[in-house]
Every structure is written in structure tokens, then in C-alpha cells.
Symmetry: C2
Subunit: 326 residues, 2 copies
């Protein structure tokens, strides 16, 4: 049996972050060594509480949760209550978690675990990249200590969602994203090009509601608010994109992208209409993306669009929790 893949998940939990975490917690090939939180879908402290709620639901309160950046380095934090609800979990207003975040700040935790386990940690970042950029400043050797970085973020041939050109995670901290993409470590970026093609429908939600697993029932409930947003602002129908869960499944090795060239990729950090755009050089698209100098990011442009089924199967298969407390 292949050794488990060890992930640190940096997230802003968030409806689709919760789905991503629950997906990974049910993955026999994955061990989550820590979860760090960042502002984004909600504030970083609420994101930590939501993460603890999700871990309790899955019986995995043994996993440490650390709070990270409350804003980007410009002091800005664009939160998204209109997408994720005012509590970040679809206005379900769950009781406070029984467990608490650890005292170690997120970036320090990332650096410490990477030093303790050189070359074996996979960073999965599904929120703004402030914590990862901070960790890179704390430990310039971090790129040599980490095996791989997978990011949910960006938009290449697909329009943005925060602005016409920029996706929300990158838009929330373009400077941090630029630092992360330029750090010289192997990066896989999962942009809207891929995630907007992997769509959960009401049929999926119905299956989640009916399959009997408490984890599945919870996800069905929080999807309600997510569908409200997507119906109103994006699709005009009750369905929603699998942003963070898809990135999680790619980081786990469960989903192998159909099209994912390694190309030079940078972030627009100017103050023009393109601020926060991920500028990936996909001009080689007509010639199977020939190798280019400066190619630094594996950009996932397409997946096979069967992931929602895989996600629902996983969530429906989740057992009743038997709490493992640290």
C-alpha cells in the first residue's frame, strides 16, 4: 500500500472548505497533519471555529487547528457572507465547538511542521495565500522543505469571480499570491477554469440529504445557502461549483486533471482593472503547450467533470463519528 500523503490544509472555512475537509477526512490515502485558517470566505477566527466544528462532526478533533492572517498586508479583508452566510457555514448557526484552536500562529505552525518533516508535507491552500507567503518570509528555505503546493485560486481562460479578471482567493491578497507562485517550489494551481466545470446539482444535494450519514446531511444543509448564491449571481439555477473540494481531490491524487500544462504564471499586483489576475502563459494551447523557459506552475485547465459524483459518494460513505481527541 502506498504511504499516506501528508497534507497541511490552509483554509477559510467556508461552505466549500467544509466540503473539502470532509472529503479529505474520509480519504484513506491522506493524513491531515494540521489545518490553518485565513480570512476570506469568513474571518480567520470564525474559519477556525468552523473548522473545529467540521472536525468534531467527523470525529477528528485530534487534528490541530491554528488561526492565521486576519487580513492581507494592506490591511484589507474582503469577506463573503453573501456567498457563505454570515457564519461562514450557510447561516446554520451551529453551537460553539467543544474544542479550541491551538496557540501557535498559522504561519509558524506551517514552518515548524515542514522543518520537522522535511520533504514530506504537501500544502493545500484553499483560501487567500497570506499564511503561505508569511511562512515563506519566516523560513526562506520552506520551498526545499515542502513536497508540493496545491492552490485553489486564479482564473486563466475563465473570467474571474471577485472582479472581471480576478478570482476571490487571489484577489484577496495578490501580493501574497505572487510570492507563493514565485517561490520556486512545485505548485499546482486549480483555477476557476477547472472548478467551474465540476458542478454540484440539486440531485447531488438530495442524495446527500437522504443517504443517512450525519456528515452528508450536514453538507446537504450548508449547500442550501451556497445554491442560493449561485442561483442568484452565477448560474441562474440551483447548482454550485466544487472549488475547494476539487483542489483537495487533486492534492490527494484522487483526481488527475485532463489538461494541466506547466507554464510561466504570475499575478497582477498593479492597481488597474487586472489587479489579482493570474497571468498564465497558455499561448501554446494550439501546440500541446511546448516547454517554456520560466514555467513555474502546473495550471489545471480541465478536469473530466465527474468529480461531484466522487465527492457525494465519499460524503455518503462517511461513518458515524467515533471521536479521536488529541
Amino acid at each position: 500500500m502506498a504511504p499516506k500523503r501528508t497534507l497541511i490544509v490552509d483554509c477559510d472555512t467556508g461552505i466549500d472548505d467544509a466540503l473539502a475537509l470532509l472529503y479529505l477526512l474520509g480519504d484513506p490515502g491522506v493524513e491531515i497533519s494540521a489545518i490553518t485558517t485565513v480570512f476570506g470566505n469568513t474571518d480567520a477566527e470564525t474559519a477556525a471555529l468552523n473548522t473545529l466544528r467540521v472536525l468534531e462532526l467527523a470525529g477528528r478533533s485530534d487534528i490541530p487547528v491554528a488561526v492565521g492572517a486576519l487580513s492581507n498586508w494592506c490591511g484589507e479583508a474582503h469577506l463573503a457572507p453573501y456567498v457563505h452566510g454570515s457564519d461562514g457555514l450557510g447561516n446554520t448557526n451551529l453551537p460553539a465547538p467543544a474544542t479550541a484552536p491551538c496557540d501557535e500562529p498559522a504561519a509558524e505552525l506551517i514552518v515548524r511542521l515542514a522543518r520537522e518533516n522535511p520533504g514530506t508535507t504537501h500544502l493545500l491552500a484553499i483560501g487567500p495565500l497570506t499564511n503561505l507567503a508569511t511562512a515563506l518570509l519566516l523560513e526562506p528555505e520552506l520551498p526545499d522543505l515542502v513536497e508540493h503546493v496545491t492552490i485553489m485560486g486564479g482564473a486563466v481562460r475563465h473570467p474571474g469571480n471577485a472582479t472581471p479578471a480576478s478570482e476571490a482567493n487571489i484577489h484577496n491578497d495578490p501580493e501574497a499570491a505572487r510570492i507563493v507562485l514565485r517561490a520556486g517550489w512545485p505548485v499546482t494551481m486549480v483555477p476557476l477554469d477547472a472548478t467551474m466545470g465540476e458542478v454540484l446539482t440539486e440531485k447531488h444535494q438530495q442524495r446527500l440529504a437522504e443517504c443517512g450519514s450525519p456528515v452528508a446531511a450536514f453538507t446537504s444543509t450548508i449547500l442550501q445557502q451556497y445554491f442560493d448564491f449561485y442561483e442568484r449571481d452565477i448560474f441562474g439555477e440551483r447548482r454550485a461549483a466544487c472549488h475547494d473540494p476539487l483542489a483537495a481531490a487533486i492534492a490527494a491524487g484522487d483526481v488527475v486533471p485532463v489538461l494541466a500544462p506547466v507554464v510561466p504564471t504570475d499575478v497582477d499586483t498593479g492597481n488597474g482593472p487586472g489587479r489579482g489576475a493570474t497571468v498564465a502563459d497558455v499561448r501554446g494551447q494550439y501546440r500541446d503547450f511546448p516547454t517554456q523557459e520560466g514555467a513555474n506552475v502546473r495550471v489545471v485547465l480541465e478536469t473530466d467533470r465527474t468529480f461531484p459524483e466522487m465527492l457525494v459518494d465519499r460524503l455518503c460513505g462517511a461513518p458515524e463519528p467515533t471521536q479521536r481527541v488529541a
Copy 2:
């Protein structure tokens, strides 16, 4: 019979500019009142000489040709001899034209004709937008004097060609493009999204070579260099996109786009990796592009991909020239 559509064509002739001009010169529904030239595919003076050569070939030396901007306002001019040949017409090294450009500068000619024919002139710009922006500075009322502006330029969901994010015409003068898009006149932008889908093949070139019209034979010859470039740098095959001719056919009303939402559109004039990008808000793509505040540009995202046939038919139908000299 509908009245003829009166066009002023601003161009940087150029292989595909030559095709566009010859297409329009054979269009019974179009009258070209003047042609102005700008740096781009080649320098503005060579572009004027090439335009005169094309007019002589078509027997239309009665149309005035005016030389315009030699560079953008930053003093830069990125020419493209590797695409269009060192003479701009595929290294055919034709003899000097018998006719000469007029003395009036391009921007002044545009302003004068617009004032003389208020509300009836359609500007077709198929090079960098320096002349149009200069004309707007000379005559701030120009938007009220012109019926419509059609531009070949930009890239929205398609990658750029000059840089990963920017198309060559816009990249050559982003500040001018921003002025033109923001001027408050009706603008149709024909970006790479549309033009890269309308592709001339070797079969088309063969038809042009064999059909017997001198105009068609000339276009077949200049396509040789164009195919060389496209084979080497773009498609890996001997075929080429119909950039300027497609914009011309849309301006003439001959091609009606399949998908062309009117959306807020701006140009990145920063100095980051997105400089020259046309940032069009196409986030409404999943909902048939609902009306948006600030919508200023009709962006042609798709045409039906049958234009190359129409172009070849037109060029093959071109009669032997009977010179009309002014």
C-alpha cells in the same frame, strides 16, 4: 437598396490588413472614404505605401491614404517583421507605388471627414489605436460625429498573442486603447476570441492561387509568409487566423456574430504582467450576459467560423482592375 456604409479604415498594412482592405474594396455595400495608417505590423510610412499598392491592385487609387502615428505616446513601436515580413507584405518586395499618401496627418483627416459627414462615418481600426486616440484629443466631440467604431484587438477568454495577457494591437498602445474604449461612442471589439476561430487553410490558399483574379493571386502569395509564421509560432500547421478581415466583415455588416455581449470593458495600462489586457466583464456568461451598468463595448466572443469561405469567394470574384484615379 440600403445606402452604402461609409468607412474610414485605420490600419497598419500588414498581410491581414491587405486582405481586409481587398475584402472591403469588393463589398458592394461599403464605401471607403479614406484610409489612415499607423505603426504596428510595420511602420506607419511603409503601411501607407503598402496600402497604396493594395489600392492600385484593386484599381482604387481614388481613395486618400494618410500617414499617422509612428509610435505610441511613450515613443515605443513594436513592429512585427517576423509575422508580416520585413516589407509588411510577406517579403514580396513589390515596386514602389505610383501614387502617394496625402499630406494631411491621419488624425486630422479622421476629424475633418467626421465633421464633414456627421453621424454617418464608421471607423474601422485594425491596428494600434494611437490615431483614433489622437483624433479624440483633437476633437472631443468626435464620439458624437461618428456612427460606430469597430476595432480588431484584445483578448478576453482567449490568451493574448503579444504577451500572455495582451493582444498585439492593444499591447502596442494600451493608453490609446483605454481612451478609445472609454470615449462614450458605440464600440464593437473583435478580439482573438473570435478571430482565432476563423482560420484560412492551405486549401483556401490554393483556391486563391488558382481562381485567376490578380487580387486573389496576390493574397495567395502574401499568405505564404503568414502561414510560415503561424506554422512556426502558433498552430504548428500551415493555416492562419483572419484577424483584420473578420473585423472588416463585421464592420461591413456581412458577418453577424454568434455571441457578442455588450459589457463593461477596460484596458490594463499598468506595468505588470497584464499590461495591455482588455478586461471585459464576461462574468455573466452563464446567464446570457444580463445587462450591466457601465457596459461600453460590444465584445465579439464567437462567430460561426464560416468566414474564410466568404473571404476567399470575395477575393476570387474580384474583377480585373480598371483604375479609378482621384
